[in-house]
């Protein structure tokens, strides 16, 4: 348990916060309440997993937190900025400058090399990457010899590692990962999750990951469970067994 205490940051800074968030689709009889009064905080320097069955609203929550989707009521605050007050352009710049993304698949621009993909958000912003940090990220991902390759020349696991490197490269306040291991075999998936955990513990990054895989969730520091658009459970220091138990309780 010494490990646990060492990686916890001294003060619990909040990286992202959802306050009384509703997200409704449609109107009247066909209205769907995707998120229904969500209150949740994500600590800086932690690896948090969001779990829940299909249709529970876990992806919607992530999209709203990341400024990819708008909410109906409530507010979302990323590092002091209220997203609900931002314009479309401001949201784009927020994503570019302060948030990192890892999607389930199709993470990379096929016409750009691995290195160009990694530096893409900074290139879009027109800023030079911090060379020391970039080297650290690249060597940690273990892709130093494949930087000039195009995505088509990389394996699925390598592609996802490039995606994580991209998410890390601009040192964002927060990284969102949407089923990042969903398309990988178990070995590549384990490598990937291990890498993400190291990014949080050794590089002091903040990751919020949506997953439906209990093993994947067990790599995180905390698991938030959603069902029917509400938060129904919150589990610290998960193991695969603890996660499975919690899922069983949900099913009851």
């Amino acid at each position: 348990m010494t490990l646990l205490t060492t990686h916890l940051p001294a003060s619990e800074t909040i990286a992202a916060r959802a306050i009384a968030v509703d997200k409704f689709y449609g109107k009247g009889e066909t209205e769907v309440r995707a998120l229904n009064g969500i209150d949740v905080e994500f600590q800086q320097g932690r690896f948090t997993a969001i779990m829940g069955p299909s249709g529970s609203g876990k992806s919607t929550l992530m999209h709203c937190l990341a400024g990819l989707d708008r909410i109906t009521n409530g507010s979302i605050v990323i590092g002091g900025t209220d997203l609900t007050s931002l314009s479309e352009r401001q949201l784009t710049l927020l994503r570019r400058d302060r948030i990192g993304f890892v999607f389930q698949a199709y993470n990379l621009v096929p016409t750009l090399s691995a290195l160009e993909n990694i530096t893409l958000p900074m290139d879009l912003a027109g800023v030079d990457p911090d060379p020391v940090w970039l080297d650290t990220v690249i060597s940690t991902v273990g892709l130093a010899d494949r930087l000039e390759h195009r995505p088509g020349e990389l394996s699925g696991g390598q592609q996802q590692r490039v995606a994580v490197a991209r998410a890390l490269a601009s040192r964002p306040e927060l990284i969102f990962a949407d089923e990042p291991t969903g398309n990988l075999d178990s070995t590549s998936g384990a490598e990937m999750l291990d890498f993400m955990r190291r990014a949080v513990r050794e590089m002091d990054q903040t990751i919020v990951m949506v997953t439906h895989d209990p093993v994947a969730a067990s790599y995180s520091d905390r698991v938030v469970f959603l069902a029917d658009g509400r938060i129904v459970d919150d589990l610290a220091d998960p193991t695969p067994d603890k996660v499975l138990d919690a899922m069983k309780r949900l099913g009851d």
Partner: protein, 847 residues
């Protein structure tokens, strides 16, 4: 499977709409060309029936070559005296624009528009085809009448006086005695039709005592054959013929139809170029749309559809698109024809009211062309789609199989070689008929275009990378991605660019040929003209020799000569011949004599030949050659000198007396004059102004001014051709927009990803637009390269005195390429906007 065809069309409406539009434009112009010419042919047919109805027989001069020599006036009375002839009238007709009335504001009627024609008045509507509407017929010296529409639109008032510009100089204060109508409705196509009395016509046009033709009306119940036999007794045996009404009518119709055919065929030519361009667009659309449906094809195959069924589904889609496009094109064509008539009206050439004739031939041709073009374009994509393996249904990211690049390269370079060979052959030894020349060169051009298109994917990637380098450097990530996107699919870039290549190659060919002709003229003027003044008759009717004589009489000039042109037969071959004052030639033009000397003024039985003509004839200085004239006269002339082929004159030259003796051309086409020693240009200016005032129809230029004016006239001709070719370029730009829209659709997920990681809408739009600009630039450069090849071929094939060496107008062509790239930017505006507006979440999850 038929149901599937229609479902697919429905699902891809927007994309097929673009394709349809390309075919509609092409088919529309084909239809317009036929509707317009059919309609005009019909109304001109009626018109010529009307014009010739009152004339039973016509006696007129004929000649194998050159201008026929007019008939002696006394023939009219002799013919009129023949039994069975009720009326015989002699006519004189002036050349186009020979007489130009000056409006009350001091200007002339625009001479670039429809012609201004002057006839001698005949007081008989049947023979003359004109009737008085107001006032009286012109009878005296300095009297004229005008057709009612021309008079009204140009503000001529009956009873007022106007100046007339004529070959003999300005006739001041001529009275407009009346207005007339031509036929029943005065359908003049905007021409200005004027009359003067027969005597006045003979005076103005320099043909005293002669008539151009004699129109005859017979008594009723007369045996025409007997009358013709009688007339034959009266007329000279050589150079005169008798024709009947049917022949006249047929000739008149053929004459009208020739003009109609030119307009119709030019329109048709551009329509066919447009249709050819749309092949590339249709091919691209089908390739891309089918590429996006590979999994669907795989599924169909997995469920048991065989390759033939898949192919049929795709070709069914093409058939439906072609059919719909052709039907819309048919309607659009009728509209375009009406629009063109309105355009002609606006330009001052009001066409006669024509019926809208959509003949069965037009419909069949429209459908055949429209459907044919669409089907042919869809053939290769259909075959590729049919060869999709059932397993493709299960694989993510499966793509359409393509012909191997090797095969494309082999087929492409073969086509290219065939095109160049056929084109070279067609240019070196052109077929006799214009139609065959057009067909051979058209085939060669099409083969070159297809060949280049097939070969160009090989260079599309490196070239668009190279072109994109500054964009990638200057435009940040959006620029870099634009460059990557333009080079990521070389085949698509090549085909899309190829559509633009066609229009641009034709435009640059025209520019290159024009420039070469211009620079050749510049060289010739510089090397062979010493005259201080070139006086050119702009009306083409020629100007009286009195002008040159007037100049010479002032004593201010060291040398003056007029140049007359006529057709003669020299050593058995019909050729142009020039008559001029050979003795003063040395001070005006340097002929670069190769042998002999120019004769003195009093030697009149000589001829000066250019060297290759002399070589062809096997004659040299001192030999005698025979020249036959249209009048039937022959002259035996001694070769006095030979001159270099590489000069501004390109025909045999004889002293003026030779023409006068043989009754050949009596007016000057242009006059050259050099100032006497000690007379400055400033001192001569009042004199020049005076001549200009007396003969307003001429332009008096220095060699440099003449060159400028000539270049301007070439430029305006080029502008017209290029404006028509712009249609092909517009269609190609639609193709670029279409391809970009399809690419944007295909790359939806990628765009979603880019937006998610922080690409702004503006950056997305910029990326798409610059990709389009790069594709357009690639096509434009291909076009210029092909244009250089074509231009080189045409210039080499042209006679050396017309276009010498290849001259490329670099500035204009650079401008053209820049405009094409900019047009690509603009064309991609809509797809770029759509790409910018994609919903990020939908885009990411797009499959």
């Amino acid at each position: 499977m038929l149901r599937l065809t229609f479902r697919n069309l429905g699902a891809n409406k927007a994309r097929f709409a673009m394709t349809t539009f390309a075919v509609v434009l092409g088919v529309g112009f084909v239809v317009a060309s036929f509707v317009l010419s059919d309609g005009l042919r019909s109304s001109f047919g009626d018109l010529s029936d009307e014009i010739t109805a009152g004339t039973d027989l016509q006696v007129r001069p004929v000649s194998e070559f050159g201008e026929p020599v007019p008939l002696d006036e006394t023939l009219v009375d002799e013919i009129a005296a023949i039994d069975g002839i009720r009326l015989a009238v002699g006519f004189v007709e002036g050349d186009e624009s020979a007489m130009q009335p000056v409006k009350s504001d001091g200007t002339t009627i625009n001479s670039v528009g429809p012609p201004q024609l002057t006839f001698s008045w005949v007081d008989d509507e049947g023979l003359g085809a004109f009737a008085l509407i107001e006032g009286s017929a012109p009878d005296e010296t300095a009297e004229f009448s005008m057709d009612v529409d021309a008079a009204t639109s140009n503000g001529f008032v009956v009873g007022s006086t106007y100046d007339l510009i004529t070959p003999i100089g300005v006739v001041e204060d001529a009275t407009l005695t009346g207005t007339t109508r031509f036929g029943s409705a005065n359908d003049t196509l905007g021409a200005v039709l004027m009359h003067v009395s027969l005597d006045e016509a003979q005076r103005l046009f320099g043909v005293p005592g002669t008539v151009d033709e004699i129109a005859i009306r017979l008594d009723t119940d007369t045996d025409a054959a007997a009358v013709v036999a009688e007339i034959s007794q009266v007329i000279p045996t050589y150079g005169v013929e008798i024709v009947d009404q049917a022949t006249l009518n047929a000739e008149q119709k053929a004459d009208f139809n020739q003009g109609v055919d030119i307009v119709g065929n030019v329109l048709l030519g551009f329509a066919i170029v447009s249709l050819f361009v749309s092949i590339f667009i249709i091919y691209n659309t089908f390739s891309i749309i089918l590429g996006q449906r590979v999994r669907e094809m795989g599924l169909l195959r997995a469920l048991g559809a065989d390759t033939r069924q898949i192919r049929r589904t795709v070709l069914g889609e093409a058939l439906a698109v072609g059919l719909i496009a052709s039907l819309i094109g048919l309607l659009a064509g009728v509209g375009i024809a009406q629009g063109l008539i309105a355009l002609f009206d606006a330009l001052g050439a009001s066409l006669p009211d024509s019926p809208i004739i959509v003949s069965l031939r037009t419909i069949v041709l429209a459908l055949t062309l429209g459907i044919g073009v669409t089907l042919v374009s869809a053939l290769a994509p259909a075959r590729a789609a049919a060869s999709v393996a059932p397993m493709a249904a299960l694989r993510d990211g499966a793509t359409l199989g393509h012909q191997s690049s090797r095969r494309r390269l082999v087929v492409g370079s073969t086509l290219l070689s065939i095109g160049i060979a056929v084109g070279g052959f067609g240019l070196i030894s052109p077929p006799s008929s214009t139609l065959n020349v057009v067909l051979v060169l058209g085939f060669a051009a099409a083969a070159v275009f297809l060949g280049v298109t097939l070969v160009s994917p090989v260079i599309a990637e490196p070239v668009s990378r190279g072109l994109g380098w500054p964009v990638a450097k200057g435009m940040g990530t959006a620029g870099r991605l634009a460059r990557e996107n333009a080079s990521r699919n070389p085949r698509r870039t090549a085909t899309t660019g190829a559509a633009l290549m066609i229009g641009l190659s034709l435009v640059s060919t025209v520019l290159i040929v024009g420039e070469s002709v211009k620079s050749r003229l510049g060289e010739l003027l510089e090397s062979s003209v010493q005259a201080d003044y070139l006086i050119i008759d702009d009306s083409d009717a020629g100007v009286t020799p009195k002008l040159a004589a007037d100049l010479a009489d002032t004593g201010q000039f060291a040398a003056v000569t007029g140049f007359r042109y006529d057709e003669v037969r020299l050593a058995g071959f019909v050729t142009d011949m020039i008559a001029a004052d050979l003795s003063s030639m040395g001070l005006l033009l340097s002929l670069d004599l190769q042998s002999g000397t120019l004769p003195a003024a009093d030697v009149t039985d000589v001829i000066v030949l250019h060297t290759d003509k002399a070589e062809d004839m096997g004659v040299g200085v001192g030999d005698t050659v025979t020249v036959e004239f249209a009048s039937g006269d022959a002259a035996f002339l001694k070769v006095a000198a030979t001159y270099d082929d590489d000069t501004i004159l390109d025909s045999p030259i004889v002293p003026v007396q030779v023409f006068d003796d043989a009754g050949a051309a009596a007016v000057d086409q242009w006059v050259a004059a050099s100032l006497a020693d000690g007379v400055s240009a400033a001192a001569a200016q009042p004199l020049i102004d005076q001549i200009q005032q007396r003969y307003p129809q001429v332009s008096i230029d220095s060699a440099a001014e003449f060159q400028e004016r000539f270049e301007a006239s070439i430029d305006s001709a080029l502008t017209v051709v290029n404006a028509l070719l712009a249609l092909a370029i517009v269609i190609a730009l639609i193709g670029i927009a279409n391809t970009l829209a399809l690419s944007v659709h295909e790359r939806t997920r990628e765009l979603g990803l880019l937006r998610a990681v922080g690409m702004t809408r503006r950056q997305v739009r910029r990326m798409v637009r610059w990709e389009a600009a790069l594709v357009a630039l690639f096509g434009a450069l291909l076009g210029v390269a092909v244009g250089l090849l074509f231009g080189w071929g045409v210039v080499s094939a042209l006679p050396a005195d017309f276009a010498g060496s290849l001259n490329v107008p670099f500035l204009r062509i650079t401008l053209l390429v820049a405009v094409a790239a900019a047009a690509g930017l603009v064309a991609a505006w809509l797809p770029a906007r759509r790409a910018g507006r994609l919903n990020v979440l939908d885009a990411i999850s797009h499959t």
